[in-house]
């Protein structure tokens, strides 16, 4: 079939037989929940759809459903994600295996509906496993894998997966479905083994915890998220087997083994980076691409193995932490010990294409050769390049 990234997510959530969907519409996410409500209305999907009055309530409802052992899903974007934030932390720190799609969109002000990754990255300390998709097909594949990862007994943590606004959410591509039988075999009905609420046994939850217990509770979340790395790889390789499509676990490597320059990227523009690598290789420059599919747990070892040995690494961030730098660039530097050139690009949805990535790779090589100490470059600025 032929579908947008948003509809691909809806097909994936349907195949995963989510039982409770609570969501509030926001551009560019709306198509996801429109399609899901259409499935439910037509009787093609057995889920309960809760029309809530805000994203905060959407996540609160998902947590409630999850606490009763149900498979819960929501989707949001940008301002909606920030409004939901209190409950996002509640789900993560409370180990509720909710699954959420985030269509990444620039935060206001000024008002914007276009792509940027700062919104999803703002929730990176919430205890959620965080994945970024690279194509329409991967949005579908990831939606199904997300439930399996979240519900795994070794994990039992929520999973959010991101899609770039418009360039993935509204772009249509070929989409292959795995069929309901395949999906059911891959993802059996939820056992609800994480269930904490029993309506027959009323109790209070989320009560005050003093300093004598909190550290251990936090440590258990840490361990679950850390341990999810192996589960994510397993979920991907098992999905490769049943779908016949090669899946990426934590990090996707493209022509990196002999590369003199590697573009480290996140999301849908990784495809443009790969095309740029091919273009550069035709011109005698050995370029490669390392795509971080998973942001949390940060794949330090896997990424370090991909990048170490390469002379020049350019990390492209479509996000920014003021007073600090590109979020991914800084994290790559801190966990791998590599000093990458950090390109801030695509901010506010500014288009980032094959020529940009080729230009970035060439620019990084030049800076590397000349011993340039400037590590942060704002790429594609219309006014003069600021000196940093």
């Amino acid at each position: 079939m032929f579908a947008t990234g948003n509809h691909a997510v809806a097909y994936g959530v349907k195949a995963a037989r989510a039982e409770v969907i609570a969501a509030y519409p926001i551009t560019p996410q709306t198509q996801i929940i429109e399609k899901l409500s259409e499935f439910i209305e037509k009787g093609e999907m057995g889920a309960k759809f809760l029309r809530v009055e805000s994203e905060h309530s959407a996540m609160a409802a998902c947590i409630g459903a999850s606490a009763c052992g149900a498979r819960a899903f929501t989707a949001t974007s940008s301002q909606g994600l920030l409004y939901m934030s209190e409950m996002v932390f509640w789900a993560g720190l409370g180990s509720f295996p909710v699954v959420m799609a985030v269509v990444t969109r620039t935060l206001a002000p000024p008002w914007s509906i276009w792509n940027e990754h700062t919104d999803i990255l703002s929730q990176r300390d919430a205890g959620w496993i965080t994945i970024m998709c690279g194509s329409v097909q991967e949005a579908y594949d990831t939606a199904i894998q997300a439930f399996r990862i979240a519900e795994d007994r070794r994990v039992r943590q929520p999973v959010m997966f991101g899609l770039d606004a418009f360039s993935l959410s509204h772009t249509s591509e070929r989409l292959d479905l795995i069929g309901q039988e395949g999906a059911d075999a891959y993802l059996p009905a939820p056992e609800g083994h994480w269930r904490v609420v029993d309506v027959q046994e009323p109790a209070t939850y989320g009560n005050l915890v003093g300093p004598e217990r909190m550290m251990e509770i936090r440590y258990s979340v840490k361990r679950r998220v850390d341990d999810s790395a192996g589960v994510i790889e397993e979920a991907a390789s098992e999905f490769s087997r049943i779908s016949g499509r090669a899946q990426t676990g934590l990090v996707e490597e493209y022509r990196t083994s002999d590369a003199e320059v590697i573009l480290a990227v996140v999301g849908a523009s990784s495809g443009d980076a790969k095309d740029a690598a091919d273009l550069l290789r035709d011109k005698g420059i050995r370029a490669g691409v390392a795509r971080l599919r998973v942001i949390r747990p940060f794949p330090a070892e896997r990424l370090g193995a991909a990048l170490r040995g390469c002379r020049t690494v350019a990390v492209v961030d479509m996000d920014y932490s003021f007073g600090y730098g590109g979020i991914i660039g800084r994290e790559v530097a801190s966990v791998t010990g590599i000093r990458p050139f950090n390109y801030i690009a695509g901010i506010g949805g500014r288009d980032l294409g094959v020529r940009d990535f080729a230009g970035i790779a060439r620019d990084a090589l030049r800076r590397g050769e000349s011993g340039d100490e400037r590590r942060e470059i704002w790429w594609g600025m219309k006014d003069s390049q600021p000196s940093l």
Partner: protein, 181 residues
């Protein structure tokens, strides 16, 4: 082979739908394809754009089409907008919705009276001619990759009954009527 097509029109003319249908038809013809809307201010009458990529190999890139091989211009007044000519070279084919050949020296031009065909087939909504199926037919033809039967098949999968009939006629007229030099 990577063929990049960009459609320029006005909000309400059905440009995004046309871009999707071209990609669907290309997939049926055995190619890989992708359609990308360029979202801005979605208002009826405002200039809008959408793109389609067709390739023999999987399409990995997701950026906007910047160096199109084909540019469809669904309102001749848009020929005065510089955005329409972004990345256009001597080799680019401009498919213009016009009754006569516009004066565009130095460019390869094809014309199709899309508005006339749409109105003839009753494809009008709130006073606006809906051009999606005519443009779909005309652009499919000039790609040289999509058969007329495939175009009609895509329309039959989207609409039923009398609406389908009108759109089938419009697409066929677009396919047969596009004039190149």
């Amino acid at each position: 082979m990577l063929l990049e097509i960009r459609l320029h029109g006005r909000g309400g003319q059905g440009i995004v739908t046309a871009a999707e249908m071209i990609a669907e038809a290309a997939i049926i013809e055995g190619f890989y394809a992708q359609s990308i809307p360029l979202f801005g201010a979605e208002r009826r009458g405002a200039p809008v754009s959408a793109s389609t990529r067709i390739s023999e190999s999987p399409i990995r890139r997701h950026s906007q089409v910047k160096e199109p091989h084909i540019v469809a211009v669904c309102d001749p007044l848009l020929l005065y907008m510089k955005e329409v000519f972004n990345g256009v070279t001597e080799g680019t084919l401009l498919v213009v919705n016009h009754k006569q050949e516009p004066q565009l020296e130095g460019f390869r031009v094809a014309i199709i009276d899309a508005t006339g065909i749409a109105v003839e087939n009753g494809l009008v909504s709130a006073g606006w001619a809906i051009l999606s199926t005519v443009i779909f037919g005309a652009v499919s033809k000039v790609t040289g990759l999509i058969k007329k039967g495939t175009v009609l098949g895509v329309i039959n999968s989207r609409w039923k009954g009398e609406v389908a009939e009108r759109n089938l006629r419009a697409a066929e007229s677009g396919y047969d009527g596009v004039k190149t030099w």
